[in-house]
């Protein structure tokens, strides 16, 4: 049923996307298998031997096992800040969608402002120092929560608007206490959008480079994105190790992508249809 033209078009599309999007990743993988001499050539060639394990070991133990520290730090920051984000954003989204007061306009303005305005870096550092949070994981976690709240609130509010209000009142008539309505009736119903939130925010926070660079200095505080700079120096770069490192930190997003493809796309395209 497919015409000849559409087959040719399909093959052309597959070939073109392969060259543009797949080859760079193949290049990363091939480099991770090479030894230092061969990787210095930086060409697209088959590895001369199998050096992946050596490279992995070298990458992980560089600078006093910095990679392990970095993975622990990044995971801690991601898990704790996403958990906080979800609870706080769901609470705001719930009341914002349900209760119409004259404050709603202001709150929505603040949410949009949070999406647009670039954070004021040095004043934030100054403030974090005053609060004794500068260069600490707690400080970093709270920063991630503050910066990512607006997006999570928008996702939640849109979803909560689709849950009928009668449900809340029915629960009250059946004897639920006010707080139970949110924590035991609404929050479980929000599961689909919670998964979307978890996935999108985790990827974003795990991949974040700029904020840890500013607010979390120091080797013991390294996050995974900063480990990429371990193998770059002005005079010689160990390309095999650099690309092994890149491959290593691409694995978590890859796993997330394989399992939660649909939720990621749902979260990132929210608002595209309604505008």
């Amino acid at each position: 049923m497919r015409s000849r033209g559409s087959i040719i078009g399909g093959v052309a599309a597959i070939a073109a996307t392969f060259v543009v999007f797949v080859i760079p990743f193949l290049f990363i993988i091939l480099m991770a298998f090479k030894d230092k001499q061969q990787s210095a050539l930086r060409d697209f060639s088959w590895p001369n031997g199998f050096h992946l394990w050596d490279n992995l070991y070298e990458v992980v133990k560089t600078r006093n096992w910095m990679m392990i520290t970095a993975f622990i730090n990044s995971s801690l920051i991601t898990v704790v800040s996403v958990t906080l984000l979800i609870v706080l954003a769901a609470m705001v989204g719930f009341v914002l969608a349900r209760r119409k007061t004259r404050w709603n306009g202001l709150i929505e303005f603040l949410i949009l402002a949070g999406l647009m305005i670039p954070p004021a870096v040095v004043p934030t550092i100054w403030l974090l120092q005053g609060l004794k949070l500068f260069g600490t994981l707690h400080g970093m976690i709270l920063i991630q929560v503050a910066y990512n709240l607006p997006f999570s609130i928008i996702l939640y509010r849109a979803f909560i608007a689709t849950i009928p209000r009668e449900l809340d009142e029915a629960a009250v008539i059946d004897g639920a206490r006010p707080l139970d309505v949110f924590f035991r009736i609404i929050l479980p119903l929000l599961w689909p959008v919670t998964v979307t939130n978890i996935v999108v925010q985790s990827v974003g926070i795990f991949n974040d480079f700029t904020n840890p660079l500013y607010y979390l200095p120091g080797n013991q505080n390294a996050t995974v994105q900063l480990t990429l700079y371990n193998f770059q120096s002005q005079f010689s770069t160990a390309y095999n190790l650099l690309f092994t490192n890149i491959m290593l930190i691409t694995i978590p997003p890859l796993i997330v992508f394989m399992f939660f493809n649909r939720q990621i796309v749902a979260g990132m395209t929210a608002g595209a249809v309604k505008g």
Partner: protein, 296 residues
């Protein structure tokens, strides 16, 4: 409902949707985001060492518009945002039209185009820095096979900013594509049916049906990528660090450089400039993109 029950229900509704639910989020957001933003308005007018600040009026801003390399950063930021969001709109739309048609291997195509969105920006930047090396990079070696002398992507001052912008598009076009796909799928089939009855060609279909009806998606893509482009820092930092010279500096990389150099007042002024730049460009842009059309 009796008259007496009404206030009772109102009371209950109040505790059902308690105002203090806003509180934890409001505290974190106000202390860590709003307060520094307001503080930046003051500190941008000072010479600042983090311990004491001397008020110097608009000197920092004057410097921003006097020093050629700072002006260049400002111009580069706008160019970068326009180029990346323009390319993402055009390519994203084209890919979405392709992916919503009867094409083979749709799942593969969609995954491959979208996956870079989720990959570390620094990782992508470093990979392409290697691929774009003028003599030893794979891109120019591949071009040489066809007898084309590839340009010095990141070392040519005229080209560096655009090379980084291209990598930005490579990484971000998947997001634009899925947004467009969501927009295209939401267009009711009746319109295409009506167009078919009127004997519209495929091109007319696209111009008179797809293009106007995917406008919300276009608005989202432009707004997202334009703001993202104006704020961009990590990709530039991973690829050129603003160089060669100051050829690919943007306001965000200037903010970081001034911070590193210890010019905290100037760095904060850069923040305020970026904030104003975004407000001045993005607010009218979104108003224009989301304006109601006559028949709606």
């Amino acid at each position: 409902m009796t008259a007496a029950a009404a206030p009772a229900l109102k009371m209950q509704r109040r505790s059902l949707y308690p105002g203090w639910f806003y509180l934890p989020a409001a505290v974190v957001y106000s202390v860590l985001f709003l307060a520094p933003t307001f503080a930046s308005l003051y500190f941008s007018l000072t010479r600042w060492t983090l311990f004491d600040a001397t008020f110097i009026g608009f000197d920092n801003f004057a410097q921003f518009f006097r020093e050629p390399f700072l002006i260049q950063g400002l111009v580069n930021t706008v160019i970068y945002a326009v180029v990346t969001s323009g390319l993402k709109v055009v390519i994203g739309m084209a890919l979405a039209v392709m992916l919503t048609s009867q094409i083979m291997a749709r799942g593969y195509l969609r995954s491959v185009i979208f996956f870079p969105v989720l990959v570390s920006t620094i990782g992508v930047g470093m990979t392409f820095t290697v691929l774009m090396h003028p003599t030893q990079g794979m891109i120019n070696q591949a071009l040489a096979l066809f007898g084309i002398a590839g340009p010095g992507w990141l070392v040519d001052p005229k080209l560096a900013l655009f090379s980084v912008a291209l990598v930005d598009v490579w990484k971000g076009v998947g997001l634009a594509t899925v947004i467009y796909i969501a927009g295209l799928v939401a267009i009711p089939k009746d319109y295409y049916e009506a167009a078919r009855i009127d004997g519209a060609t495929r091109l007319q279909n696209f111009i008179y049906v797809t293009l106007p009806l995917s406008r919300p998606a276009t608005a989202t893509v432009i707004t997202l990528s334009f703001i993202g482009g104006l704020r961009t820092f990590d990709l530039i930092w991973a690829m050129t660090k603003g160089g060669p010279g100051f050829a690919s500096d943007t306001v965000a990389s200037v903010i970081y450089k001034q911070y590193q150099a210890g010019f905290y007042g100037l760095s904060t002024a850069g923040n305020v400039v970026l904030f104003i730049l975004i407000a001045v460009l993005v607010v009218p842009l979104t108003m224009f993109l989301n304006r109601k059309q006559g028949h709606e």
